[in-house]
């Protein structure tokens, strides 16, 4: 069935990576000094790759659109990073992390990649601690762990609710060290607008200096994209405002296949939308589900305050439906269950599109333990709540403050209101085992690629993948390609391919400026977001997807006729930047719907209403759909499907159950 080669090494699953590492061709140090690598993106995947490749001796150029690599959106990840360390002696192992990840991804991820991820996970923690990343510690001085959804062990390492920040600053400092030594040239406030291909291989990029508007040509023996996810196609999401698909999409248009675009992770615990002014959604870390119990009233349209609803009139629906995992079921399951309750009329808050996340029971439990620790037997409820609140504050203080700031409510006193929101995209550029796309010499890492998560991502696995790719995988695999490029001299950027790519990028910018239409970029972005959320969001069906495709095509035509971009292209012009990104989002949105329509099954973050069990759970079709859908871009915004068959040789494919 497969018509593309994933280049997975032969042999036993557990030995593939070790064998690959010891047999892959190497580049000798003096040759590394003449080999140039371009890295686009400076988040966990990009910064760690740039730092590591520079440490190895390559000449590295790194690009980001922000004013500093320290601002990449990886910084916003809250909860933690998984690693199979088994520090808690609760039965964790590389195999178990591998197994949980494959199962969590609804058997739509590649075994060999996921096993490698589980193998290097432990090294990531070691590396970060060596860099001085202040991960949470126990009183004995050892690292602390907590649990995340979809697992029954405690393997998540964290730094309060700011794990992404601390890991990113670790990678950023490693990158700055190389910048200081002159081994990485950093280009901030630069956006990649084209991939330059020469003789079929990626040989550079066209980047726009966002301050001067100037288009620049940069050569590289290889190009790496670590440019993050595309959740902003929905307009409202938990992504940073600048997160975009442009670099990946331009690469796609140059021949890089786009894989599984319809797999969008909807995160179950976000602060609900408060009005149509809203520009983005804010996540409340999944780690809160360790200590928060999710419930709705048993009675429909119950308008009483949470505190006035007695215990026996509450429906702890996750604990009821999934006794084995309870509040810690994976994100897709928790999200759908919340939607199901709200759709059935049990939602809370003024919009009725929210459920409660309640910390009271665990606050009291912690309080009791604290009281006993300080020798108070039979502490009263008030004392327990006071002592317990201090514990909760220590664990999640910044998240509680953030919630209070946004909603104006005090979550220590009333339960949080939460609702699912678009969070992480599992789809992305197709890559082989080496993280190379279908364009030779063009690599893709982290959230921007599709490889490790399948149809759903378990919590605390995105940070793991970003750093695994950047620190431990790409630096090895890229050598296999570069070892054959040592005789290639730097190609001058007056080469016709550079000239042509620059002209193409300039053409798009000029067109956008010259439309001089009547509607703002945000107007189109919001309309696209609305179509995507309604028809390709938490639940999809064939009819809605067909409508969405028609609507998006009409929107695309209207955009190119009527968008208004004030200013010029030779200055800092944030509207022009947005316009280019939204143009790409519109094309991607169509592909997402096409992919969702093609996949006649439900799995993970892709829930097709036509395919569900009697109990309302996702109904997979492993006979017909155990493949990666890799789409090739064709002239005039058309797409051709290629399939990579997924083989499960080491794991028994089964109906996912968390009951």
């Amino acid at each position: 069935m497969s018509d593309i080669n994933s280049n997975i090494p032969e042999g036993e699953l557990t030995n593939k990576w070790t064998k690959f590492k010891s047999s892959v061709a190497l580049v000798n140090p003096s040759n590394k000094r003449t080999i140039e690598v371009i890295i686009v993106g400076s988040g966990l995947a990009g910064a760690s790759a740039a730092a590591t490749l520079a440490e190895m001796g390559y000449k590295v150029k790194c690009f980001c659109f922000q004013d500093s690599p320290r601002r990449a959106h990886s910084i916003a990840a809250q909860g933690g990073i998984n690693a199979a360390k088994n520090y808690q002696n609760d039965g964790d192992s590389v195999y178990r992390l591998f197994y949980d990840t494959i199962k969590g991804g609804d058997y739509r991820a590649r075994e060999a990649n996921v096993h490698r991820l589980a193998e290097v996970s432990a090294n990531i923690i070691d590396q970060c601690v060596a860099q001085g990343v202040p991960l949470a510690r126990e009183y004995g001085g050892l690292l602390d762990n907590r649990s995340f959804g979809g697992t029954q062990v405690q393997r998540t390492f964290y730094a309060a609710g700011q794990t992404g920040q601390q890991l990113l600053l670790g990678a950023y400092s490693a990158l700055e060290r190389q910048i200081g030594m002159g081994k990485v040239e950093m280009y901030t406030r630069h956006e990649m607008l084209e991939v330059v291909k020469i003789d079929g291989k990626a040989r550079g990029i066209i980047a726009r200096n966002l301050i001067t508007g100037e288009l620049e040509r940069h050569f590289g023996h290889a190009v790496v994209l670590g440019t993050g996810g595309y959740g902003n196609v929905f307009y409202l999401s938990t992504n940073a405002m600048g997160s975009n698909v442009t670099a990946a999409w331009k690469a796609h248009k140059q021949g890089a296949y786009f894989a599984n675009p319809c797999y969008t992770q909807i995160h179950p615990t976000c602060i609900p939308v408060s009005g149509d002014h809203q520009s983005k959604l804010t996540l409340m870390s999944e780690s809160l589900r360790n200590d928060g119990r999710i419930w709705v009233p048993l009675k429909k349209d119950d308008n009483r305050k949470a505190s006035e609803i007695p215990e026996d009139e509450r429906d702890y629906y996750l604990e009821r439906r999934y006794p084995a995992f309870g509040n810690l079921v994976p994100r897709d399951v928790a999200s759908r269950a919340a939607k199901e309750r709200c759709d059935a009329g049990y939602g809370v808050g003024s919009s009725k599109l929210a459920v409660y996340l309640d910390f009271k029971a665990n606050t009291e439990r912690y309080g009791k333990i604290e009281a006993l620790k300080s020798g108070i037997q039979n502490a009263d409820k008030e004392t327990c709540m006071r002592l317990g609140t201090a514990v909760i504050k220590e664990k999640y203080g910044n998240l509680f403050d953030m919630y209070a700031q946004i909603t104006g409510e005090n979550p220590y006193e009333t339960p949080m209101r939460i609702y699912p929101a678009v969070h992480y995209t599992m789809g992305g550029l197709w890559v082989d085992y080496n993280l190379m796309t279908s364009v030779p010499g063009l690599y893709c890492t982290g959230e921007a690629n599709f490889s490790d998560h399948g149809a759903n991502r378990l919590g605390a696995s995105a940070l793991m993948q970003g750093l695994a790719d950047g620190y431990f995988v790409l630096p090895y695999t890229i050598g296999a390609y570069l070892s054959k490029e040592i005789s290639v001299k730097a190609i001058p950027t007056d080469h016709p391919a550079f000239v042509e790519a620059e002209a193409k990028a300039k053409g798009v910018l000029d067109t956008l400026i010259n439309i001089k239409g009547s509607k703002s970029v945000d107007y189109f972005h919001k309309r696209l977001g609305h179509i995507m959320w309604e028809k390709c969001g938490m639940a999809r069906n064939a009819e809605g997807l067909n409508e969405a495709i028609t609507d998006i095509r009409a929107l695309r035509a209207e955009f190119w006729k009527d968008v208004r971009v004030p200013g010029t292209s030779d200055e800092l012009n944030t509207e022009l930047e947005k316009a280019g990104r939204v143009a790409d989002f519109i094309e991607l949105g169509e592909l997402m719907c096409i992919d969702a329509l093609n996949r006649n099954e439900s799995c993970g973050g892709h829930f097709r209403e036509e395919y569900q069990t009697e109990e309302g759970e996702a109904l997979r079709d492993d006979v017909d759909f155990a493949y990666v859908a890799a789409w090739e871009f064709k002239e005039g915004v058309n797409f051709e499907l290629h399939k990579e068959e997924l083989k499960f040789e080491n794991i028994k494919v089964a109906q996912r159950s968390y009951k």
């Binding site: 760690s48 590591t52 440490e55 922000q66 004013d67 500093s68 601002r71 910084i75 916003a76 360390k85 520090y87 090294n123 923690i125 070691d126 590396q127 601690v129 060596a130 860099q131 001085g132 202040p134 991960l135 510690r137 126990e138 009183y139 001085g141 050892l142 690292l143 730094a159 309060a160 700011q162 400092s173 490693a174 700055e176 060290r177 910048i179 200081g180 901030t188 940073a240 405002m241 600048g242 009005g275 149509d276 002014h277 520009s279 983005k280 804010t282 996540l283 403050d401 953030m402 700031q405 104006g408 620190y471 431990f472 703002s520 208004r564 004030p566 200013g567 800092l572 944030t574 509207e575």
Partner: protein, 256 residues
């Protein structure tokens, strides 16, 4: 699109680029909702300007969750506005009243030149980090993380210093435009951890030298930085940095 009931007057600093002069320009806004964030209120303003075929106000922003450190505005004379411990993106309009006039300016410091409108160039911070704000360890052969136990209190203190988001409010609010709170936060984080010890004194010397080279002023213990820091980074860090800097002076080249 806005649905609230607040009417506001904004006085916003407009400056085309760093070669031209800037000025405060008045804008009227109606129907602002108290649930909006300050930046969402700016989105409404910009939508209004684009509809009039004018250029929108340029400002740095990205995560809108208070963690990336991009957003940077002086609001009524205070960085990140009137509330303590929040960034501009986490400031909500319920902190203002109907009829208010709000003055919005960019960060003010010679080391942070204005790029356009409210956007300034903070790359000096990156150069300070590049001069030594790291632990020199290559990827690949780190020892097992638990082979280096770190007392919880110490790890927590390092984390508190590490929570700096590099927004630059400390510099902007300081009468000397000193970067000492930012620099000392990184120095403290690494000085509090055993991994940071080998380069401890070399690090403080090179970072302070770079900070001076970038044109940041010195600290005169006014404490405005601590008062305005959205992440609660404390002056204690500056004390620690000064102590390490002084110690480094008395150490011989070999011991550094």
């Amino acid at each position: 699109m806005s649905t609230g009931n607040m009417n506001l007057t904004l006085k916003v600093w407009r400056q085309k680029n760093n070669k031209t002069k800037g000025a405060l320009v008045d804008y009227k806004l109606a129907e602002i909702s108290p649930d909006m964030s300050f930046l969402e209120m700016f989105d409404v303003l910009n939508e209004q300007l684009i509809n009039k075929n004018e250029e929108p106000v340029v400002f740095d922003h990205d995560c809108r969750e208070g963690i990336c450190g991009s957003c940077s505005m002086f609001i009524n004379g205070r960085p990140h506005g009137p509330k303590d411990l929040v960034t501009t993106c986490q400031l909500h309009m319920r902190s203002f009243k109907d009829g208010d006039t709000i003055v919005v300016e960019p960060w003010r410091a010679a080391a942070f030149p204005v790029v356009k409108d409210l956007t300034v160039d903070r790359s000096a911070f990156d150069r300070v980090i590049a001069s030594g704000g790291f632990i020199s360890v290559n990827t690949g052969n780190a020892q097992d993380a638990n082979s280096l136990p770190i007392p919880k209190m110490q790890a927590d203190a390092a984390f508190e210093a590490a929570a700096c988001i590099g927004c630059g409010a400390c510099v902007a609010t300081c009468k000397n435009a000193s970067a000492m709170l930012f620099v000392s936060a990184k120095i403290s984080q690494l000085a509090l951890l055993p991994q940071g010890q080998p380069e401890r004194y070399r690090r403080v010397q090179s970072m302070v030298a770079q900070m001076d080279a970038e044109g940041f002023g010195n600290c005169t213990n006014t404490g405005a930085c601590e008062a305005e820091c959205p992440k609660g980074i404390t002056l204690e860090n500056i004390a620690r940095m000064n102590r390490d800097f002084a110690s480094a002076k008395f150490l011989s080249e070999e011991s550094i």
